[in-house]
Each structure stands twice: as C-alpha cells, then as structure tokens.
C-alpha cells in the first residue's frame, strides 16, 4: 500500500508540474522562433553588448518606444522568439537621432546611459558598386551631410569629392541609411562584430545579405 501511495503522489506531483508548465508552453507557442525578415534590425543605443544579455535584462515594458521623439523604436512581435516584446530599430524605416531619452527612461540595465560617441549600435558599411558617387553616376553626399557625429564618423574620401567613407567614429545610428536616395540602399548598418571599417569595399553586401541583423 505504501508503494501505491508513493506512485499516487508522484503522478499528482507530475500533474501539478505539467499544469504549471502549461501557460509557459502556450506563451511559447504564440512566440515561435521564426526567422526575422531580412531587414536591418539593429539594437538600441546604450544596449547591452550581446543580444542574449539584452533579452535577459529587458522586461518588455515598452517605455523606450513611448518616449522616443522620432518614434524609431519598434518591437519584436510574433517573429521574435525569446526576443518577443523587446525593442529594435529598423533604420531603413526610421533611424535613431541619438537623443538618449530611451537610455534615461529604461528602468532596467538593458539600456544604460552612454555618451553618444561611445554608443555602439553597429557600424555603417558602404557598397561601392552601388553608391552613386563611387560609380561616377552623379554627386550626392547625403549621408555625410546628415551624420550627427560629423567627419569623425563619415567623410568624403581624400581628394575624391562626394565619395563617402566610413570612419572609426561611426556608432551605427542609421541616419545615413534612412536618407540614402539609392533604392537598393548601398549603405547599411552591420553589427560591430562583423563589420570593420577596413572591410568596406566592393561586394561587402554579398556576404551580409541573408544574415540576421540583430
């Protein structure tokens, strides 16, 4: 009889445990790990360095999006997986102006207050086979004139007017991406781990295409 009682309590315990797991399983079913579509999804300014740490620290309250003046912050939805309800910026649609309000309002350590020149959201890469001035198809300079950080981040190449070159000071805010008039967007933001200023050149986009931005 003792064994039967033990088995009974064991099944009861397993039943209660599975009932406790049930809401989380359902929450997980609603947030499947679909691969995000191939847009530039870059982290917020002042965000923790790795996406995993960011997912651990963010509670998904949405305050950063509510205070953002240019309204560039969007949230991972069904396609987020574990990143569901955490914020990202898509510079193709709307880019960050580095005002720092999201860093101030964030209640957790997911976003920490950082001076704007030390923000690391990524770095810009220019595809020199598509950019108008680089292929001598016209003069532009839109990315250089919009950059909030000036000549330390992006500048014209020495002696070559209107041919932009990304420098070490780029923090990846993405304003150059938003303003770029070329439809195929020869400039885009890549994560710092994969992008080096020295790597910029012909055909960099072929490597980057198809990989997840954030």
């Amino acid at each position: 009889m003792k064994r039967r009682g033990f088995m009974k309590s064991l099944t009861m315990g397993a039943g209660i445990l599975s009932f406790g797991l049930l809401p989380f399983l359902m929450g997980r079913l609603i947030h499947p790990d679909i691969k995000a579509h191939e847009s530039n999804r870059i982290p917020l300014p002042g965000a923790l360095k790795s996406a995993d740490d960011f997912a651990r620290a963010c509670i998904g309250c949405g305050l950063c999006g509510e205070v953002c003046p240019p309204r560039c912050i969007q949230f991972h939805k069904h396609d987020g997986g574990f990143l569901a309800d955490t914020p990202y910026i898509d510079p193709v649609q709307k880019s960050c102006i580095l005002c720092g309000l999201c860093m101030e309002v964030c209640p957790t350590n997911a976003l920490t207050v950082t001076p704007i020149r030390e923000v690391s959201m990524g770095t810009a890469q220019i595809d020199r086979v598509a950019c108008y001035p680089w292929v001598d198809a016209g003069i532009c300079g839109a990315c250089v004139s919009i950059c909030p950080l000036g000549e330390k981040a992006i500048d014209f190449e020495f002696g070559n007017f209107y041919r932009p070159v990304v420098k070490e000071g780029c923090v990846g805010c993405g304003q150059c991406v938003e303003v770029c008039p070329e439809p195929s967007l020869p400039i885009n933001i890549v994560p710092l781990a994969r992008g080096r200023v020295a790597q910029h050149g012909i055909g960099v986009r072929k490597v980057e295409r198809g990989q997840r931005g954030f």
Binding site: I16, L17, F19, G20, L21, P23, F24, M26, G27, I30, H31, D52, D53, A55, R56, A57, C58, I59, G60, C61, G62, L63, G65, E66, V67, P69, P70, R71, Q74, F75, K77, H78, G80, F82, L83, A84, D85, V105, P107, T108, N109
Partner: protein
C-alpha cells in the same frame, strides 16, 4: 412599510464603487497614453496639414484634452508606461513580478531597477493582493467577463465553476522562475495579463496591429468562462501567487462582525475568488476588493488591523441557527 427600520449604512460599502473608479481610471489611462503618444508624434513632426482626417481628429481631441494642463506636448512625457513599469512625474514604478523575473533571468542585481518596485512592495506587505483588486487592468475585463458568465448562465449556456488546487499558481511562479534562468528571458511578461494588456493596447493604438499576447489573453478569458470562475487569477497567475505570498501577513484585513451577521451568505456569492467570508476564511488569496462589504445587507463586514484572520466565530447572531442554539441551551 413602517416596520422596516432604515439604519444608517456603513460608509465602507462605497469602497467598492471607488474600486471600480480606480480600475476604470487605470484602464482608460492605458488607452489614453498611446493616443497622447500619437499626438506628440504629430506635434514633433510639425506636419498638421499633412495628416489624414482620422489623425487630425486624434490630434485635435488630444490637444483639447491636454492643453488645460500642459503647454508643451513634450511635457506629457511625465506620465508614461504601463502598470508593468512606468514613470509617474519622474517617479519610476515597476511591478514586483517584473523585478523578480528580471533578477532570475539576468542572475544579477541591478539596484536602480529593484528600487522601483519598493513602493508597490511595501503597499503589498500592508494591503495584501490589493493590486489584483484595485489596479490591475486585466481585473476590469475579468470582472466584466464574470458578469458575462452570469448572463450566459441565465441564457442556459453551461458555465463551469470548477474548483482547482490553489497551489497551482505557486507552481507556475516557481516553474516560471526556473525557466527564466534556463532560457534567459523574462518569461512572465508574455503570460502575465496586466503586462499583456498594457502592451497590446499600446501596440494596437500606437504601432498598429496586435502583438502575440492578445491571443493568450483571449484564451484566459475562455478559461475563466469554461473552467473556473476568475480561474486564471485564482489558480494560474504568477503575479497573484507572488502577491499572495507577500500579503500573507498583511495588516489590513476584512473581518466579519459576528454580532451583526445574519448568515445570508451574500458575501460568499459576491466573492469572485471563491473565498468564504461567512466562515471567517479569507486567507492569503483575499485581495481586499471589498465586494463582500458592498454586498452585506447588515454591514457586518469591515476592516481590521491584524496580522492574522480570526478563527471561526460561529454563526451570525442575527441568523436562525444562532437563535436555535440559544433557545436550546
């Protein structure tokens, strides 16, 4: 009708109306804030002439609502966020469950965030699960859903009121914390109804389109209708589990005054959490919602300051059972 004696009723019964006012205020603030967000966007863009007629309506109505209070739309940032985490005139407030979940997910203590939960924490230690009854935006919908269940039952549709084990929600809390450690994400945000509601309203109005949580919330409404009355709050909600634990030794409790009670059991029917005020059984689950006080015809229920519930005080002195016992002895 001369023999009906009209007694001056207790003021405490109006607390339930005050509670409904608080619940609706919080809910409508959650709806208003995304519209204010949109209004701020339009103002920041200086593009009133380019707006569509709908957007112009939003902009105009928000301007007329807010202009008596603030001059610059930027100052509207003073009230932002949801009940999950928000700022109120510079004071940052967070849900204690958000803090607990985040500490377990990140396995580190970030004190500026933990401190934001201290005011709700102390209030919970004093008042118990008051958040569930007085503030939670999901409670408003769940209570309306419970009223719907009454109507459905009257219409002849089967509405189940099964009793489950109350300890399930503590298991949900523990499982959620362990899963948060292993999976590395604040998982409570996706299954905790007030967090879902605040976020979904914001997504729906400001960003367009619902997020993933809306489906889960609809499922909890079905759970309440088809399995148990207020079942999610009572048996599943991890926040409810946390507040029950914190409010176990709360100071403000509802107590039955046995000399006024007439054993009518209206309080037991009014209590949506299935507690038993008639037997002096409130326990950890009571959220001080005062629905039983409002339903009591003899004003036998009131507040007391005590660390524990009183033991069963026997049948009410105005009831039949007590009179029979007195005649018998």
């Amino acid at each position: 009708m001369e023999n009906v004696k009209l007694e001056p009723s207790s003021k405490l019964r109006h607390l339930n109306k005050l509670r409904w006012l608080t619940l609706t205020t919080v809910f409508f603030m959650l709806i208003l804030l995304p519209f204010i967000y949109l209004y701020q966007t339009y103002e920041a863009a200086h593009a009133y002439d380019l707006l569509t007629p709908t957007e112009k309506t939003i902009s105009d109505s928000m301007e007329s609502l807010t202009s008596p209070f603030v001059k610059d739309p930027e100052e509207l940032d003073a009230i932002k966020g949801t009940t999950w985490s928000g700022t109120l005139f510079g004071l940052k407030l967070s849900d204690p469950l958000a803090v607990v979940g985040q500490v377990f997910a990140s396995l580190s203590l970030y004190w500026p965030f933990i401190l934001t939960a201290f005011i709700p924490l102390f209030a919970t230690l004093l008042l118990g699960r008051f958040y569930c009854g007085w503030i939670c935006p999901a409670t408003l919908i769940y209570e309306l859903n419970d009223n719907l269940a009454v109507w459905l039952r009257k219409a002849g549709l089967p509405v189940s009121r099964r009793k489950l084990d109350r300890r399930i929600k503590y298991v949900v809390l523990a499982v959620g914390l362990i899963l948060s450690i292993y999976l590395g994400a604040a998982l409570f945000a996706s299954i905790y109804p007030p967090a879902i509601i605040g976020r979904e309203i914001y997504y729906a109005i400001a960003l367009g389109g619902f997020g993933a949580g809306a489906v889960f919330f609809l499922l909890t409404l079905l759970f309440d209708l088809m399995v148990s009355r207020r079942g999610f709050c009572r048996y599943v909600c991890p926040g409810g589990a946390l507040y029950s634990l914190l409010g176990r030794y709360r100071l403000f409790r509802i107590k039955r005054n046995v000399t006024k009670c007439n054993d009518c059991a209206k309080c037991n029917v009014a209590c949506q959490f299935g507690l038993d005020p008639l037997q002096d059984d409130f326990g950890m689950e009571c959220n001080n919602c005062t629905a039983c006080i409002a339903s009591c015809p003899t004003d036998a229920l009131g507040f007391t300051i005590n660390m524990r519930d009183s033991a069963y005080q026997g049948p009410g002195h105005l009831g039949h059972q007590y009179k029979k016992e007195q005649e018998g002895s």
